[in-house]
């Protein structure tokens, strides 16, 4: 591919902004200047689909109503472990309005021991599905299916599951990617014994480093503690589900998903159909947070019922099923040992963790301990513990949120032992330039200098301040394409399979294309979330922005150049002499020569110009060739809390969140996402907890009223700082912010609680009971 050289902005405005020369592919557009000099990109542009949302016109998968559609309902297991001895559907079949019943049987890979029904391994495991003329009828029929079980002993508690005589979840070695979704990590379930699988000792950043013993021998101070995090569920407001119409020529799927192309691939693979005959659509999607990447069991179930009944089938699971079976963030029990020299230099980090993702794998604690700080000697062992509970799934920054809860408290404890300010210690050991800027800008806005020594606050309600940092890799999905069409009335359409899960993907695509074509964001029609169009990335791991906005700009640029070529011929000049600005195409040398964009295509031979483009590797190359970019998506978050030492009640008063994501594309949407990450972090720190009954194996608070989350009254003042950072890495140089927004909050709160009361809490959720226990105000 031919290349040319371009000068790009490089660095952080207001700190170290400079320029850098890069070689870029010839068909990619020239460098954009910094955001100050752009018109649509980096601005507070209104979300282009907001009107549909505020009027209730937006149609989600759950709102779909196709002609002749049936409603389906799952029957799920009521026991945590055992085998099914018989299923009797005869009564259910007689219910008027029931059109189809499907019982799930074993796959070949399950092995053919016993009868055809898969073994039950958790309460809520799907067993059968019923399709009927209404949801009420389907529910009635499900209630009439008779099941007989041969129950077996089970284990729910992580620590009990590790005991030698614990009931086994899987007798055989397992190797599955149902993995808590940690991006780029294959969880090896074949290693280990009993319910204890692993350990994972390396990541794509490599394995252990240096010599741990030597490192600890060199240390002047040491911190060693155990940190615990709970299992919590995603609870997206729209549950998992699909509406499927399987016709002979095509399987049409409406899915509430974070990955239309992925669901298309799964269903095509499962039913051995060509990908061209499965179409997945997700126009509006009611939240996923990592749990909605797959077709799950609801996809195949709805498809089979649709095939059986020859009618479209609606299958959205209910709130309880959502909690039981469609994902959770695994728990963790992490032991961390960190050694440092007197001046703060880290000498060794040792991490050991156990966590449970129920019947799935993926309870690792991420890469925070491995890469956040400079340390020559490092070792980690991360174990999965299988239990008879619903499977975990990726949950916003999988692994790193749990990992940060340990590491960033340990660093806080280390600072105290070294008699250093926690920010000063981080200045010493964190090599990231952008986090340095985030620390300084964040500290100033937050008023960090007013922080008092731990436990020194007087009165019943004690205030405290805490800080924590995060990092998240910059992943790029190279299989990402976008089509841009310019029609002969000057209208512009952007098409792709990439979906907008509420983060604002539709809007940033419109902004990027508008900027390139000299138009307004509102001039651009965005049709995405449909596998009829070119494949885009799944919305997970904060990959979307860096994966899909460069293809969008590249496609718009190529389409524009095609248009310029046609106009240049007419004007007897060269395409390079033209530019598109403010709705006009203008001759650069003779600015009186111009034509409105809307008229540019008139009289052309074809009525549209259409270009599909993808993106090249990062201009400076990748850290790893599969799409791991240089740098990271770091943040620094500050929290102020009030702790009532009589009631144990903790209230978060204020959070300052300083973040970076390369070139920011839409300031208000970025603020929304950071607000959301912070609020979910508050929820993780103080409220949420999956409560399992060890006696029955049932999830006791699988609803909205008993599953505690913050509502409006618990929302603190949140101030967001977005630090612009130019890396000259792609045609937009922009990155996502979804994961980093959620990583540091809970541990910043834990550090603030310590600062308030002078006693450290090593386990979340931090409840009134845990505060009172820490203050020795209750006795067990």
């Amino acid at each position: 591919m031919e290349k040319r050289k371009e000068i790009f902005p490089f660095g952080i405005p207001g700190h170290n902004l400079s320029e850098i020369e890069r070689e870029i592919p010839n068909d990619e557009p020239p460098a954009w200047p910094v955001n100050d000099q752009l018109k649509e990109v980096g601005k507070r542009v209104n979300r282009i689909d907001a009107r549909a949302k505020v009027t209730g016109e937006a149609k989600y998968t759950s709102d779909m109503k196709l002609s002749g559609m049936l409603y389906a309902k799952f029957l799920r297991s009521n026991i945590p472990h055992g085998s099914i001895t018989s299923i009797d559907t005869s009564e259910a079949e007689k219910v008027p309005g029931v059109h189809g019943i499907h019982i799930i049987t074993k796959n070949k890979e399950d092995g053919m021991v016993g009868n055809e029904y898969p073994e039950i391994k958790y309460v809520g495991q799907p067993i059968a599905g019923v399709a009927a003329e209404s949801l009420s009828i389907a529910k009635d029929a499900v209630a009439m299916i008779k099941i007989e079980y041969d129950p077996k002993s089970f284990v729910i508690d992580l620590e009990e599951a590790m005991l030698p005589d614990a009931p086994l979840v899987f007798k055989e070695p397992i190797q599955r990617q149902e993995d808590g979704g940690d991006v780029g990590v294959v969880h090896d379930g074949s290693k280990g014994q009993g319910n204890l699988r692993g350990p994972t000792t390396s990541s794509f950043y490599g394995g252990p480093r240096g010599d741990l013993e030597k490192g600890f021998a060199e240390a002047d101070v040491m911190v060693e503690n155990t940190y615990r995090t709970q299992v919590h569920t995603h609870m997206p407001l729209e549950t998992h589900g699909v509406v499927i119409d399987w016709k002979p020529e095509e399987m049409l799927v409406y899915a509430s998903t974070q990955n239309t192309a992925g669901v298309r691939n799964e269903l095509a693979n499962y039913f051995e159909l060509p990908k061209s005959q499965v179409r997945v659509i997700c126009d509006f999607m009611g939240g996923g947070f990592g749990a909605k990447h797959s077709a799950g069991s609801f996809g195949p179930m709805a498809a089979i019922l649709s095939k059986k009944t020859k009618r479209p089938v609606w299958l959205m699971i209910d709130r309880k099923e959502e909690h039981l079976a469609e994902g959770n963030r695994p728990s963790s029990i992490q032991t961390l040992k960190i050694g440092a020299k007197r001046d703060g230099t880290l000498t060794a980090i040792q991490q050991k963790s156990h966590g449970t993702a129920g019947v799935a794998l993926g309870a690792g604690v991420g890469r925070i301990a491995q890469i956040l700080y400079d340390c020559p000697n490092f070792k980690t062992e991360q174990y999965d513990v299988l239990t008879h509970a619903g499977p975990g799934a990726a949950w916003r920054a999988p692994g790193n949120v749990q990992g940060a809860f340990g590491v960033e408290q340990a660093i806080d404890e280390l600072a105290e032992k070294l008699k250093m300010d926690p920010l000063a210690l981080r200045d010493k050991i964190d090599k990231s330039e952008v986090r340095k800027v985030e620390r300084s800008r964040g500290a100033e806005l937050f008023g960090w200098s007013n922080r008092k020594p731990a436990g020194s606050a007087s009165g019943i309600i004690k205030k405290g301040m805490g800080v924590a940092q995060s990092c998240w890799p910059r992943f790029v999905t190279l299989n990402s394409s976008i089509e841009v069409r310019i029609l002969n009335d000057g209208s512009v359409e952007v098409r792709g399979s990439v979906q907008d899960i509420g983060t604002g993907t539709k809007t940033i695509l419109a902004q990027v294309v508008a900027e390139e074509l000299g138009l307004k964001t509102t001039d651009i029609t965005v049709r995405i979330g449909d596998t009829l169009f070119p494949d885009g990335p799944g919305s997970g791991g904060s990959v979307v922005t860096q994966s899909i906005t460069p293809p969008a700009r590249n496609a718009a640029y190529e389409a524009k150049m095609k248009l310029f070529n046609q106009i240049a011929t007419k004007w007897e000049t060269e395409a390079s002499k033209l530019e598109a600005v403010d709705g006009f195409i203008i001759h650069k040398d003779d600015r009186s020569k111009k034509i409105p964009f809307k008229e540019a295509l008139r009289g052309m031979r074809t009525s549209q110009i259409s270009v599909t483009a993808s993106r090249s590797n990062d201009y400076g190359g990748f850290q790893q060739p599969w799409g791991l970019a240089y740098g990271d998506l770091g943040s620094v978050q500050f929290a102020e809390v009030s702790v009532n030492t009589n009631t144990g009640f903790v209230k978060v008063d204020r959070v300052v969140a300083a973040h970076s994501c390369g070139r920011p594309l839409n300031m208000s949407q970025l603020e929304s996402q950071v607000n959301g990450g912070v609020i979910q972090g508050i929820s993780y720190a103080l409220y949420e907890n999956r409560v399992m009954d060890k006696g029955t194996g049932h999830f006791m608070n699988a609803n909205v009223d008993q599953y505690k989350v913050p509502y409006s009254m618990e929302i603190p003042e949140i101030e967001v700082i977005i630090v612009e950072e130019y890396g000259a890495l792609s045609s937009t140089d922009a990155y996502g912010i979804g994961e980093p927004a959620n990583i540091a909050t809970a541990v910043a709160i834990a550090n603030a609680v310590y600062n308030a009361i002078g006693v450290r809490i090593y386990e979340i959720p931090i409840t009134p009971a845990s505060i009172l226990k820490a203050l020795n105000k209750i006795y067990e």
């Binding site: 209104n46 009107r51 505020v54 209730g56 109503k65 407001l237 929304s672 609020i679 009954d693 609803n703």
Partner: protein, 208 residues
């Protein structure tokens, strides 16, 4: 034993009552395990008059129009709006009155439509999210939601808008605490609350 059906106002029969009975197995286990409640508790419902079997046809005034629906006694207002009238702006999230995604007005008063039986609506006028704008012209709260980016996934948005529009109708000069109070039952999992607060306060300013 016919007093529930005939003696009391129909409006007071909430779905919560039915759910309390249905959910007892679960709730009972929690309580028994913690050793607080050590006796068996059985709820018995008085039998009401049989009005009709299966679905019945009713008329309902929705957003100013009289609509005909066919509902069963167990059909909630939320289900009726969504399934029968295709008014899917009203969302069902928790289906037990704890998230306010299904908020509609009955005679101008916000209620959870998942906790209201369609048969109990009677002559009361229903206003849904689809009835908040006047034609193409959005309500100032809706406009402010757009301007201040008060939507993420958007699934809680209709309920949020209903709560905030109702607040401004009765309080033209709200404080931040008033807005928080008005939306205290609205669950937003994406965490869009700060922008909802900003938008509502800004709409109040513009409506002055």
């Amino acid at each position: 034993m016919k007093k529930l059906a005939s003696g009391k106002s129909k409006k007071s029969i909430s779905r919560r009552g039915f759910i309390r009975g249905a959910g007892l197995t679960t709730a009972g286990t929690v309580v028994l395990n913690s050793g607080v409640l050590a006796f068996e508790h059985k709820e018995s419902y008085p039998k009401g008059d049989l009005i009709a079997e299966g679905a019945v046809e009713i008329k309902m005034k929705v957003n100013g129009l009289s609509r005909t629906l066919s509902v069963e006694p167990r059909t909630t207002l939320a289900d009726a709006l969504r399934d029968q009238l295709d008014m899917t702006g009203t969302k069902i999230v928790c289906d037990r009155g704890s998230c306010s995604a299904c908020t509609v007005y009955l005679d101008g008063k916000p209620i959870n439509s998942c906790m209201t039986m369609a048969l109990d609506v009677g002559q009361q006028e229903v206003t849904t999210i689809e009835g908040i704008s006047s034609g193409e012209k959005l309500h100032p709260v809706q406009e402010a939601f757009i301007e201040h980016d008060a939507t993420q996934c958007g699934y809680c948005t209709p309920g949020m808008v209903m709560s905030c529009v109702h607040l401004l109708k009765h309080n033209s000069n709200p404080t931040l605490d008033d807005v928080k109070h008005a939306t205290r039952g609205n669950l937003c999992r994406c965490g869009t609350y700060p922008h909802v607060f900003k938008a509502t306060l800004s709409a109040a300013e513009k409506m002055k």
